[in-house]
Amino acid sequence: MPDETTECKPEQPTGPFIAMFEGFRKELDEHHDRRERIIKASRDITASSKKIVRNVGQPVPPFVNKSNAQYWETIQKQYSGIASDLQSLNAHRYAHNITGGNQEFIEALSFHHYLETQSLISYDEAKARIAMMSKDEAKDGDLQQEGSVVPLSPEDYILGICDMTGELMRFSVTSMATNGRLPAGRAKATPTSKSPAATEDADRMDIDSQALTSGDSQKPRTVLDDLRSIRLQLEMFEAPYGPKWVSELETKKMPVMRECVDKVEKALYGLTVRGSERPKGWMPDMSSDRRAEVESY
């Protein structure tokens, strides 16, 4: 193939455009380096987030904070390391390189938040959390300019929350298998109240707390109730037509999310029907494809 245009040494390309392309090369190299830094951070954040989720999901709440400290630290280090790469023009340029890490972190953060407060962390809270983590690497905030934080897009948040339903599902099923009940908050006078007080007295999701009391309007909220309300919100959410993340949401995340709610409903059905016969170590039967209307027993 006569494509050796640089007949001489490839080391010394000559030509009228070489100088111009040398400039381009420098810029492209910078771009690729930055992108790779972000991708690497995203991966590390993903890995640590997964570990947090795994630890947090274990029914040993008192220790979780300690054993997870190192992972939070890693994530913080990664966020603060790439904050300056994601500013201004570059915030959206590399958005799809960080979205994986952001989503995974939201999954961990929202799950953790849920176990502690029994409520869904808001977009603004999550954003503020990431902002905080991307800032205080070292205490001297003067080193970094103002507002140098890793941005969290609404897209990342929504996709992360979708993933979190999987954790709630696993949490519920594990609890049903080991304790024979669905994790629930403590009984409250007004479980439907929207006031923040509603979550205050149920600050800890405790497996040992009171189980469902049937036919009672005062029954405590269960994980299943919460799963359903997340599902409802996600189903009601009108995703715009076009952007890439929407197809991800609709073809992958939403079906999985629905599946998760279904699984818990089926497991609870199994528990309700055969609960009293439950031998030790029994796992809820989730292969059943019958739809169970659990609330109307």
Binding site: D3, P13, F17, F24, L89, A91, M236
Partner: protein, 239 residues
């Protein structure tokens, strides 16, 4: 929707919905401008395609006609730039990146054919419009690094250069058909010089890489044309 629990504050999703709807509104607003740009790009390429069947002696008319359509493209780009400059550039740029590339492709070919700064004398072909010159013509900033505004990106420029090479490869053959044996030589050198430039770039595995991989075949195509001419002793005598 009788939400049974206080677990999800409905305001969270209302707020997200509002944000996402805002983006949709922005997209809808830009859509018309981008469609107009696409349409006018087609006009430019329609006019410029006559260069493939027009002898250099009559090219003046083609270039003049092209300039008219180019002016509408410039207007469209100004409108787009105005509408988009207040937006985060990379959040929306995939909406117009393709259209901006074809606008630039038209300009590059027009510039190469001699349309840029043409003063009425002999048409001088072979000019490569730099990204800065394109920015001047289109009245937009180019290759921004910090400022988050509408601009022409380096990647778009490089993509368009590849398209220019493809177009010139075609032109090399068609020039021969028109009995013009000088143009292929000019193209041969130009394409080689550009290819040499691309070779020093460290491209990652992206679309730019894939398309630039094809450049060597275009270079070969043009070389084959020159070879055919030289074999038949048709190359103009340098002198």
């Amino acid at each position: 929707m009788a939400s049974q629990s206080g677990m999800v504050d409905p305001a969270i999703f209302q707020d997200l919905q509002a944000r996402v709807d805002e983006d949709t509104a922005v997209r809808d607003e830009l859509k018309d401008i981008i469609q107009a740009l696409e349409k006018h790009n087609r006009n430019v390429s329609f006019v410029l395609s006559r260069a493939h069947s027009t002898p250099v002696a009559n090219l003046r008319e083609v270039l003049k006609a092209a300039e008219e359509s180019i002016n509408t493209v410039i207007d469209d780009v100004s409108k787009l730039s105005q509408a988009a400059s207040k937006l985060p550039y990379y959040k929306f740029n995939n909406m117009w990146s393709r259209q901006m590339q074809s606008a630039v492709e038209g300009l590059l070919l027009w510039g190469w054919l001699g349309g840029y700064k043409y003063d009425g004398g002999d048409i001088k072909a072979g000019r490569l419009l730099t990204i800065e010159e394109l920015g001047e013509i289109l009245k937009i900033p180019v290759n921004l690094k910090e400022r988050d505004e509408f601009h022409l990106t380096l990647e778009e420029y490089l993509q368009s250069l590849i398209s220019l090479v493809e177009e010139l490869t075609r032109l090399a053959r068609n020039a021969v058909t028109l009995g013009d044996y000088e143009r292929p030589i000019l193209i041969n050198q130009f394409v080689k010089d550009l290819f040499a430039g691309f070779q020093i770039l460290n491209l990652k595995n992206d679309s730019l890489r894939r398309r630039s991989d094809g450049l060597k075949y275009r270079v070969k195509d043009v070389e084959d044309v020159v070879y055919d001419l030289s074999l038949r002793n048709l190359l103009p005598k340098k002198g």
